[in-house]
Subunit: 386 residues, 2 copies
Amino acid sequence: MKLDDSSLQKFGFIKRDTLGSINIDPLQTGGRLTEAAKQALVEWGDGYSVCDFCGGILDQIKKPPIYDFVHKALPEFLDCDEARVTNGARESKFAVMHSIGKPGDWIVLDGLAHYSSYVAAERAGLNIKTVPHSGSPDYYLDPEGYATAIEEVTKESGKPPALALVTYPDGSYGNLPDARKIASVCHEYDVPLLLNGAYAVGRMPVSAKEIGADFIAGSGHKSMAASGPVGVLGVSEEYAPIVFRKSKYNKVKEVELLGCTARGATVMTLIASFPDVVKRVRNWDQEVENARWFSARFEEMGFIQRGQKPHSHDLMFFEAPRFYEISEKVKKGRYFLYKDLKARNIHGIKSGLTKYFKLSTFGLGKEKLGIVADSFEEILKKYEDV
Amino acid sequence: MKLDDSSLQKFGFIKRDTLGSINIDPLQTGGRLTEAAKQALVEWGDGYSVCDFCGGILDQIKKPPIYDFVHKALPEFLDCDEARVTNGARESKFAVMHSIGKPGDWIVLDGLAHYSSYVAAERAGLNIKTVPHSGSPDYYLDPEGYATAIEEVTKESGKPPALALVTYPDGSYGNLPDARKIASVCHEYDVPLLLNGAYAVGRMPVSAKEIGADFIAGSGHKSMAASGPVGVLGVSEEYAPIVFRKSKYNKVKEVELLGCTARGATVMTLIASFPDVVKRVRNWDQEVENARWFSARFEEMGFIQRGQKPHSHDLMFFEAPRFYEISEKVKKGRYFLYKDLKARNIHGIKSGLTKYFKLSTFGLGKEKLGIVADSFEEILKKYEDV
């Protein structure tokens, strides 16, 4: 591409078509900015803005209160000993895997682990053993499966895995496994546990200490109303000196964080939304109630909710055999659902999906959820003769 | 910290004190957002905004034109075969080091390399050999030093280093080494070269192919008028399959990028500013002229510019013996300069520095640079009897 005026025209400011829609994509519902975060974004948008206030260590900046946020508020919020801000949950996971494991070591992942957990382990050179789930319809994860997996690794490789990970909840079905029991099983074998809380931290109460997780990863752009990429990482006292070890070349810089991570608008939007995020987490029971109400309405229409029931998270997976039937017959084929939802200003079911899809009810409230449910009902009706 | 209403009050939206000042911090001058980027920031601020348009691979998104940007515009701009967007220049460097080197391998760095190059190499488990510079006043980097360093590594470790890196320009003196000659020296030994262009890409013309660099790293928040953390990485055809290798667990995700990198406002501000960035790079001769004019005015006042002369970059290092003298005598001590500049609405010389400091003239234009130079002159005058 020659970079002339004509080709450059396609870049510059670009509108975001989905901005005004009701978005039920699980990736988006917890990442919508608060008003304070929108203001922070404009205020701190320039490149390295927070570095104007930095004496050499990002998380030691006193004003703006990054120090208080990272070293006082975050450990309290995650209920862990030490915390840092990272470039995302996957970067948090990689930092843990890369510092706790050595290439050739093993890691145990739950069978519903996010692809980024696999990729992070692969990047760290770790071999992967998965704990199977029970499959459809519950996708239940038996904590005892961790014992079996750890024993298998030990038998095959001569030593226990370096690390275990559990996804809490998983990103497909929104299942909340018994993380506390899993931590206890792992600890019986002296295997530390990393809790991937990308869909938990910032949405629902979660305590690393109560669970017994040695590490906890959260996502700012997924669940903490922040502009990404930004994440959080909590580590126990025992492992903090390893994960947050300092460079031998530069005494104040932490190796796994490459010195500095979120250094600008991202950390400032995380801080801006934090008071609201703390408050919304306290409102989690209402979110669960909304999710259950929504699931019940969907089931009344003949959709089948997969995963835990009654459900305890806003992320839900549905099977919609009737939509699949329709897609086989209508002109627009498998794109009919996406288009009919778009016409109703609803976004978030991936284009082309009909038989199976996931969605999230988080933060939408009963009124908007009602509009979504009514819209699905209308679409069913529209095609009732098909 | 108990997360109650009183403690949460310190978070939320926070003002940025330096927003209206003339900022000469080298970290800031190339990262100021364009108007288009400010608009993009607000439009695309929410968490995972671009993922609404993603079919599974970030850099394949057609609308917004991330695909065209990453696969057509960026390779042209960097003059390399393949490019990607990353979470920053240091993350670009780590991705290269981690995929090209194995723990225990060696890397050759120039003696003026940024700390993040050291930390990235350390994180990748690489041993570091540095190419010495000539020291004060020029800090000249002899390309032949790379031959010596490579030979030393080969002698000591039994094999050549996995990689060499050159900082172009360095972040202390703004020196532009003879990167083309360095590439040619490295290639004589079959050692690939990574060009750290965090202060070049987006400010001045730079061509990976003309230089002969196998890899080129750039920074969005440092030099491409983008809201960070965001960076770019260019790789030659030969090494692209290694650095951008796909996961064995997920066929579309690239391991070194952990699947996805800049997935939201950061990539959209990079794209928003891109047309202006392409244009400002064409204006580089004027920037160099401004830097030289500024340097001359500073030298007239008795400050001494260190590093290359005549200078060919906006980042400059000054020695100011007179300011040091003043700082020894005045009440405010070494903070007098910071405070006197602040009173004149100028920011960017680190608080407490007087004898040595660096600054950048980039993008400020003659008028603002005149104000800065006049202000330094006034401050000298203010203390002339001290």
